[in-house]
């Protein structure tokens, strides 16, 4: 039995039997059982992923299984190659961290029962993980769609976990269900067109038949599939479910959705665009690049002004997925222009960023969950001072934030560096000097740069305002550190961040193998020469995260030594702070998340258009004496406000109109049936 078969068996059997066990064990043991089963399913995914990455030859699948007749419309076909492998690994690793974390997180709180500990919710988590793992392993349209839908449904159940506590959960569930099914329709239609043209529904048949499709049909397939996977990945303007569903789901589920599930949208895009369709014309790439750029910028801008910690992280997901899409899009542009080496670098950048994003977003969402569990708060304005109450959570959140802010020695920096290298070498590689490319690439670099800058602002705010300074509420002042299992879960993800941050070359060989699956960038091996130093093949670019980290540490040692000699080692005297003339410091004078982001809000006023609400209440005796002032600021999602209300209104009008057609009289329905049949016959008669 190969490693892949073994891993996937563990996943399938473990998830089904585990879910059964979770429903049967007494409530006391449920969190432990669910956590162990989820982590075990994750281990299965990691094993299968490693098998996929190691076992694959120069190209093609390492492992294939076909079960004819298992699904109603066709066979169930599973196949794992290196591209599947890297995403199996990603999903599995996130699941291990989230599973271990869930043991502590889903236990009942001190005062109330935890809805995340309910039988349904606990049993659904491993099923959700298993369905995610089978997405990259499925190799026919039917299998893929069934698993994809299973993933959507199980995650929907999990999003709705806390629906009794907050009405906003139901709203989030509705949005998520709507968006994910709109996406499913797009993907299904795209695959149907594809399969009809290619004459087969297995991925092998699609790959072989892709050349028979007319350019128009290929483009139709691409657009439909891009819309569908874009909705799952959270690309603008289909991102609207992310800032709703991620905050409302239990935090270990948020981590699974934001770090793992969203990446599968990227998987789907790469699989169809570069593997099954085998690349396309330049405008496909430009479209993906443009949508990615808008997503990155819009996501980070919204994140930089968010005050809800989990909402901030959700928008940051849109940002990072946007960066991945930029890599994929630019790769498409260069591949279409025949510059395969550069395309290889950019795809590698996108994949590396997917791994890095999964690592740091897991830490961040789990950290946010610990804060939520300890304080009941997601609002950064009311947090603060947690670094003393929850030191380990704060440190790990800091590691994740460093990665997300793309600063060395964090892991996000590495993949953004590769992405930038791929973009800036577009001129010196000189093959594609088409004006449209010459204009779009500098803008893309500017977008990546502004995204990086605003990303720093976002995570300085999230970490600084959330964890440092003085607590701004009693809940934050009395927070207690999380149980061991939660700390272990976060620690696993944090350690992965550190490894990917200083030794990204561990992923290098695997990524090179992934590229061999994709026809347009086969054998480019952009990271083949990397060891301590990340050296890009065929373009002049090298950077060593390890040496930078070591160098910084050395410099710090030298500085400490020198300062001790010059300045002595007397301990610092603890003194009061300058409290603006008051005798004591007042936590209300601290900057909150809202005020921290105020300059940015003002600079980007035209895009964000925040809504202010100021209420001044004077004393009854005199209008000059102010009793209280309340200030409220809301930054609504302007893209959503511009697009969705008209769309929903149109859908409602359409619904009303069709209701008039259906008035309940049977002979009218018979007439409709008759007309429909007639129309079908006319179409058949005309077209044959």
């Amino acid at each position: 039995m190969t490693l892949i078969a073994f891993g996937l068996t563990v996943v399938a059997v473990g998830a089904v039997l585990g879910a059964l066990a979770i429903t049967l064990v007494p409530q006391r043991l449920r969190p432990l059982t669910s956590g162990v089963v989820t982590a075990g399913v994750g281990v299965g995914g990691v094993l299968a992923g490693i098998g996929g990455l190691m076992g694959a030859g120069s190209s093609g699948a390492a492992w294939t299984r076909v079960a004819p007749g298992l699904l109603p419309l066709g066979e169930a076909r599973l196949s794992v190659d290196a591209l599947s492998g890297v995403f199996l690994l990603l999903v599995g690793a996130v699941a291990i961290a989230a599973g271990v974390y869930g043991i502590g997180y889903t236990g009942d709180g001190p005062h109330h029962a935890n809805p995340a500990g309910s039988r349904t919710s606990q049993a659904t988590v491993p099923l959700f993980v298993a369905s995610m793992i089978f997405v990259p392993a499925s190799a026919s349209v039917t299998t893929f769609l069934v698993v994809w839908e299973l993933m959507a449904l199980t995650s929907l159940v999990l999003v709705l976990t806390e629906h009794r506590l907050r009405p906003s959960v139901r709203d989030a569930g509705l949005w998520y269900a709507g968006m994910t099914h709109a996406g499913l329709v797009a993907i299904m239609t795209g695959f149907v067109v594809f399969a009809a043209g290619a004459g087969g529904e297995s991925f092998d048949a699609l790959r072989a038949g892709a050349t028979h499709l007319s350019p128009a049909a290929r483009s139709t397939v691409f657009i439909l599939v891009f819309v569908g996977f874009g909705a799952k990945a959270g690309l603008v303007p289909l991102h609207v479910w992310l800032p709703r569903a991620h905050p409302e789901a239990p935090s270990h589920v948020s981590a699974l959705m934001s770090a793992a599930m969203v990446s599968l949208g990227i998987y789907g895009l790469i699989r169809v665009d570069f593997d099954l369709l085998g690349g396309g014309p330049r405008w496909w790439g430009l479209l993906v690049l443009a949508i990615g750029a808008i997503s990155a910028l819009f996501g980070v801008l919204q994140a930089s002004v968010s005050t809800d910690l989990k909402r901030l992280l959700a928008y940051s997901t849109t940002e990072n997925v946007g960066l991945m899409a930029m890599g994929i899009g630019a790769a498409g542009v260069f591949a279409a222009d025949g510059n395969r080496a550069l395309a290889g670098v950019l795809i590698a950048a996108a994949l590396l960023h997917a791994l890095n994003h999964a690592a740091f977003k897991t830490v961040l969402f789990l950290g946010a969950g610990s804060v939520l569990r300890a304080t009941g708060l997601r609002d950064l304005d009311s947090l603060g001072g947690l670094v003393r109450r929850m030191p380990l959570t704060a440190a790990l959140f800091g590691v994740g934030a460093l990665g997300a802010a793309a600063l060395p020695p964090g892991n996000g920096f590495v993949s953004e560096w590769v992405l930038l290298q791929g973009l800036i070498h577009s001129i010196s590689h000189g093959i594609s000097a088409a004006p449209v490319v010459a204009v779009s690439i500098p803008i893309a670099v500017g977008v990546v740069a502004l995204t990086a800058g605003l990303g720093v602002a976002t995570f300085v705010k999230a970490f600084g305002v959330g964890f440092l300074a003085q607590p701004r509420s009693t809940a934050a002042a009395t927070a207690v550190e999380s149980p061991v299992s939660m700390r272990v879960g976060m620690g696993l993800a944090g350690a992965t961040c550190v490894v990917l941050g200083i030794a990204p070359a561990v992923a290098g060989g695997a990524l090179d193998r992934v590229l061999n699956v994709l026809a347009p960038v086969r054998d480019t091996a952009p990271l083949a020469n990397s060891a301590v130093t990340l050296r890009l093949a065929s373009i002049q670019g090298s950077m060593s995260p390890l040496l930078i980290a070591v160098g910084l540490a050395l410099a710090a040692l030298v500085v400490v030594g020198a300062v001790r000699r010059v300045g002595g080692i007397a301990p610092r005297r603890v003194v009061g702070v300058w409290a603006n003339g008051n005798a004591e410091r007042n936590a209300r004078q601290e900057l909150t998340a809202t005020s921290f982001a105020e300059p940015l809000t003002r600079v980007f006023d035209d895009v964000l258009r925040p809504e202010h609400d100021i209420n001044i209440t004077p004393y009854a005796e005199s209008s000059y004496l102010i009793e209280s002032v309340t200030f409220r600021q809301r930054v609504p999602d302007r893209l959503e406000a511009a697009i969705y209300p008209p769309l929903l209104a149109a859908a409602e009008t359409w619904g009303r109109w069709s209701r008039r057609m259906a008035n309940g009289r049977v002979h009218r329905y018979l007439a409709y049936g008759f007309i429909g049949l007639l129309a079908a016959l006319v179409v058949v008669a005309v077209t044959t």
Binding site: G446, S544, A570
Partner: protein, 319 residues
């Protein structure tokens, strides 16, 4: 690379660190003295920052109550990042002791790391001014980022690499490139970046005593003793580093391409002369400048972004 060259390169890196650590306070002193004279004051002398640092290092360090390890670690990170950059940026010689650390993107990111550490420490004090300074500093840094990266892009085009060593060596080999439109436009953009990153007029006033207009000074209000000395030293070093980076990117003459002692000596002398000249020019420029309102700064930065974008476009279409 021969063993001799490696030793020479390590030596050159050591020389650079010593030069920047010792020279940076004098550069700050020189700029203050030039300003003082132009404003009709006698000035405290070029050595005053050094005397200040010596005094501060001997004074007792304090720590506001309720601050965390971040407050203590920030000066260290800030100074360590500056020392690291002083070692790896090719100021004196283009022969690098280790490859893979002088990429310009990494250099910029490490500069930012120091800024972020200080901003977090400012938030950690929990005072209104600390938070305000951090918020303003981070806003400016975020908006400067596109200009820097696009300027790097424009500079990297002519040598096909974003590694500083390659860029400097490339310019030394083909000096005429300095006068290309792309290079000149990038130079203008980079000048604005230096002013914004080091907190000079018109973006921030380094000698302000009015809390409401402070950016950098507001962040360090709670520091004292050796911690403040570290921050002051690091601030001077960052100014010297960025000026040195600027002159070597656009006028690298004198930078040694070997590790021969004479070439290194010439490199050191040329670096001191060039940085001093640019520093004086910056000081003179500042005398005639008023501080911009904070919310006019983005307009300045947008202007510099335009220059950087034009630089890249020029390198595409005029190359």
């Amino acid at each position: 690379m021969t063993a001799l060259e490696t030793v020479g390169a390590v030596l050159a890196a050591g020389v650079q660190v010593a030069l920047v650590v010792v020279g940076a306070p004098y550069l700050t002193g020189l700029m203050r003295q030039v300003r003082a004279r132009l404003e009709g004051r006698a000035g405290a002398g070029v050595g005053q920052p050094v005397r200040d640092l010596r005094k501060l290092f001997r004074k007792e360090a304090t720590r506001p109550e309720g601050t965390s390890v971040v407050f203590v670690a920030a000066p260290l990170i800030l100074l360590a990042s500056s020392v690291f950059l002083a070692a790896v940026v090719p100021f004196v010689s283009t022969v690098a002791s280790v490859g893979g650390v002088s990429d310009l993107f990494a250099v910029v990111a490490i500069l930012m790391l120091g800024t972020v550490a200080l901003a977090l420490a400012a938030i950690d004090t929990g005072t209104a001014f600390g938070g305000m300074g951090a918020s303003r500093e981070i806003t400016i840094v975020a908006l400067v980022e596109p200009t820097i990266l696009l300027a790097i892009f424009a500079l990297s085009v002519r040598v096909g690499s974003s590694d500083l060593t390659d860029i400097v060596a490339g310019t030394l080999a083909f000096p005429a490139q300095v006068l290309s439109p792309a290079s000149l436009l990038a130079a203008v953009a980079f000048a604005v970046v230096i002013i914004a990153e080091t907190g000079r007029l018109p973006v921030d006033n380094p000698s302000t005593h009015l809390e409401l207009t402070m950016i950098h000074e507001a962040m360090v209000l709670e520091y004292s003793g050796r911690d403040l000395a570290m921050i002051e030293l690091a601030a001077s070093m960052r100014l010297a580093l960025l000026l040195g980076l600027g002159v070597n990117l656009f006028a690298p003459w004198g930078v040694a391409t070997s590790v021969a002692p004479l070439a290194l000596l010439l490199g050191i002398v040329m670096l001191i002369v060039k940085v001093a000249l640019v520093g004086v020019a910056l000081a003179v420029f500042e005398v005639f400048m008023a501080k911009l309102r904070l919310f006019r700064v983005p307009e300045l930065l947008a202007g510099s972004l335009l220059f950087a974008l034009l630089a890249v476009a020029a390198s595409y279409f005029l190359a």
